[in-house]
Amino acid sequence: MIALSHAYSIPSVLVFVTSALLILIGAIGVISVKNPVHAALCLIMTLIGVAVAFVAQSADFLAAVQIIVYAGAIVVLFLFVIMFLGVDRREHIHFEPLVGQRAFAGVGVVITVAGLITLMARSHWVSGATSVTTKLSSGNGNVRQLGTAVFTTYLFAFEATAALLIIAVVGAVLLARRERPSQNEESA
């Protein structure tokens, strides 16, 4: 299935290589740099690589959302918290509190990834039913299909996400609120 041939068009291969480099270099940066600010910037690199992969697979809307929501909101939230707390002190990476933790983690991750790749290479997953919900558009871009699916088939899940976001915002405000015991005593 993964047989290399020269039948693939050059632009698609170039786009894949670009997104793969962005994703892998950024991801390795996130787990290896000491400064949390640099890790957040490496995370942006990975997210942009994933957006490139989305565009290459004609998921234009998701690529835009990926940039706006992830790179524009979530990473900025990370940076805000890092700056706000002043935790740009460096972590001692080479100190292992549990002996052999790193080796065990490496072995477990290698087994997991090897299992996933073996599963992909040996199974016949494309023999399942295709186009169960809605077909993709024949051209580029699936914004119309995605909107129709979200607002009809997945309407209940969509409404549930609204409730989820409200609950998350209220919970975050409650968690991060500074308690003022003096004012409570005065009011009591």
Binding site: A20, T46, S58, V87, R102, W125, V126
Partner: protein, 101 residues
């Protein structure tokens, strides 16, 4: 002809592995959250790839919901990090050991 879907799936598996390794080895709660984001993005990439392979929009719709859940998770998680930092002046998860038996 476009590159086969298997290339993107292997890339997503690698990204998931890197995120999992970081989550298991780093001890700063902020970096652990970033590694969770890496793993979520790997799964999103898999969903979009299967959406293209199976010619079905459901994969992309699910990615949309995963992004919403990720945003909510980061909001609450960073709220917890701020609350913990107020009490201990550190974000290292090794110091949160009160519930050790």
């Amino acid at each position: 002809m476009n590159v086969p879907a298997a290339w993107y799936l292997i890339l997503a598996a690698g990204l998931f592995g890197i995120g999992a390794f970081g989550l298991l080895t780093r001890r700063s709660a902020l970096i652990m959250f970033m590694c969770i984001e890496l793993m979520l993005n790997a799964v999103n990439l898999t969903f979009v790839t299967f959406s293209r392979t199976l010619n079905d929009i459901s994969g992309q719709a699910i990615v949309f919901f995963v992004m919403v859940v990720a945003a909510a998770e980061v909001t609450v998680g960073l709220g917890i990090v701020v609350a913990v930092f107020r009490r201990r002046s550190s974000t290292s998860v090794d110091e949160l050991s009160e519930m050790k038996g």
